[in-house]
Symmetry: C2
Subunit: 334 residues, 2 copies
DNA sequence: TTTATTTACGAATACGTTTAAGTGGAATGT
DNA sequence: ACATTCCACTTAAACGTATTCGTAAATAAA
């Protein structure tokens, strides 16, 4: 790119210094309105675009945020990104996307590389395989970070989450009220507080209804989709649960397939409810009862708080909301 | 960020010039292996991270690409991004995401702003409301661009598309073979060659089977979801089609809802097939027949060609593949 | 009027990196 | 023996912007 139009071009054309041009472009109070207008007009006319690299190098502002998520091809996360993007857009910020694919090392590589000053702030939904949090602890000391949905307990940062405990407690109650006595739990996000809260909700609901807590009714998520299918099948065959709570969306469809393959009727033989943002939940056969997180809102809130931090707007920790998921009762659990 | 470790730090520590350090970090042939090793070791030890802004400013390389899409919360696009990200990851490239929300002005704002040198290249899937292509024509002259899926006809750039014409021709044939004589077409992407090819496929299939082409059987997509529902309902009530081809996924679920609300049975009263990447298509009631595009592959191919251009690797226009969609026949069309 | 203050601008430098153009000395060629 | 090439490194100048500091003129305060 040669002959690109820079502040220099504008300065020469208007017979003023590049300092003045730069200040005018930044709407500095030091510059008269006349001069500003001239600069703006010419800038528009010549299609001047500020060089982001130079600007960033000098000012240490990138107008860019990073979003680190496990998987983009996931209803929850793509909706969350949607929310994030909407907020970023309003501020003319750029959004970088990084997928960890639930791999902790990839996650560490990303966070490390983002220390170079490429972004002003980071939004993270933690990978489920992450066990060691040292890289996060280092990270939050050096750059503004907001966690969303998938968070870890012991870290000093803003975290936007939903009422995971209550959601799963209520889901379990719902199944119990509908007659389930032997409810299985499909566990995931084992290392994250998010996952643990969901599990606790389930467990406490059983306890509060004087139902036994059978550890064999709990299986954990596997990255391998086939294994998940097998594990679920195994669980259903051996434990004969009459209800299933799936703590992540990825478990829901396999349940349907297993039931179909085993000739089980949902909800008569087995009631199912799943955390999910599937738009097709109402059209499944039978329609799927869901705990639906406000993914879009979560993204917006997370981005909003990140910008509050970037703006150095002070806020109190208890201004950070815990968003509410919606329990949508459909055929699969009735 | 003060006291950050830079090439200067490394140079001072090792008693060599910063030029040597820089070259060593870039694995230049001018530097002895001993020196390189020392630099690399120290860099790792001190957790040196190259400042991207400075690097970019000097070298005009950003190691960043932009992806401009209509909507991220869409199965097709999130899968495509997944493919793009995978390729970018291998090259240590960063990926910026921009959503146009099918708004042409937003699209123009993005392309304009990307002229500032923020990215090395751009991947675009064109907004459906885009009617004027001047901004694209300017864009492709100034920066490497690859279009994917949603492309426009008259532009000199690599375009990764699927066999839209054939897919929709085959879908129509499939419905005709299953007895449909009055097939409606849910039109979308009217301004794009993608949309036109899909329409032509449908029309030609009718013609080849001596079926009349009734323009009243064709309705166009509206951004407003409710209007789409109404339009479909109106179409079904007034034209009484026995088959529907939906040229985008967004039309599929409304069809189901309309049929449910009108008490129509799919597929007995009305057969449906839709372009779609819905993972739940097999579990819908009835399961949805789809034309499924290889979204992930499209993303990978598009990114692959963008990098070929960035690498200045010459390639022939006929190396650019047209990927094949899969027609998956399920209950909704049988 | 004199002095202080404000306004509107310019000169110069720094941000951290890459790179063109050297340089001194060792190795090679004739 | 000398010239030439090559190696491994250094010097210095960019890249385009933001910002500190300075200053002349205009205005206000005394």
């Amino acid at each position: 790119m040669k002959g690109n139009v820079t502040v220099k071009t504008l300065a020469k054309e208007l017979n003023i210094s590049i300092a003045t041009v730069s200040k005018a472009l930044n709407d500095s109070y030091e510059i008269s309105i006349d001069t500003k207008q001239k600069v703006w007009d010419l800038a528009k006319k010549l299609k001047y675009e500020r060089n982001p690299a130079a600007s960033n190098l000098r000012s240490h502002k990138t107008k860019t945020i990073a979003v680190i998520i496990p998987e983009i091809a996931n209803n929850f996360f793509s909706l969350a990104i949607n929310g994030i993007e909407e907020i970023a857009r309003k501020r003319d910020y750029h959004v970088l996307i990084y997928q960890t694919h639930e791999n902790s090392e990839t996650e560490i590589a990303f966070t490390d590389s983002l220390l170079s000053g490429r972004v002003d702030g980071i939004l993270i939904s933690v990978s489920s395989s992450t066990e060691n949090y040292e890289h996060f602890k280092e990270l939050v000391k050096k750059i503004p970070v907001v966690f969303f949905d998938r968070t870890i307990e012991d870290i000093d940062a803003v975290k936007i989450t939903t009422d995971d405990y209550e959601s799963s407690y209520n889901a379990a109650c719902h199944l119990i009220e509908n007659g389930c006595k032997n409810i299985a739990y499909l566990y995931a996000l084992n290392n994250l507080s998010t996952g643990q809260k969901r599990l606790s909700g389930y467990q406490d609901a059983l306890r509060d209804h004087n139902l036994p807590a059978n550890p064999d009714l709990i299986i954990s998520y596997d990255k391998d989709a086939e294994k998940n299918y097998d594990n679920i099948k195994q669980l259903i065959v051996s434990q004969k649960p009459d209800g299933i709570i799936s703590s992540i969306e990825e478990f829901a469809l396999p349940c349907y397939y297993v039931c179909r393959d085993l000739g089980l009727n949902i909800p008569d033989d087995l009631k199912i409810i799943s955390f999910s943002n599937l738009s097709t939940a109402p059209l499944l056969s039978p329609s799927l009862s869901t705990i639906t997180q406000p993914a879009f809102e979560i993204g917006k809130e997370a981005a909003g708080f990140l910008f509050k931090i970037l703006d150095k707007k002070p806020f109190d920790q208890d201004e950070v909301p815990t968003l509410k998921s919606t329990l949508i009762k459909r055929e699969s659990s009735s």
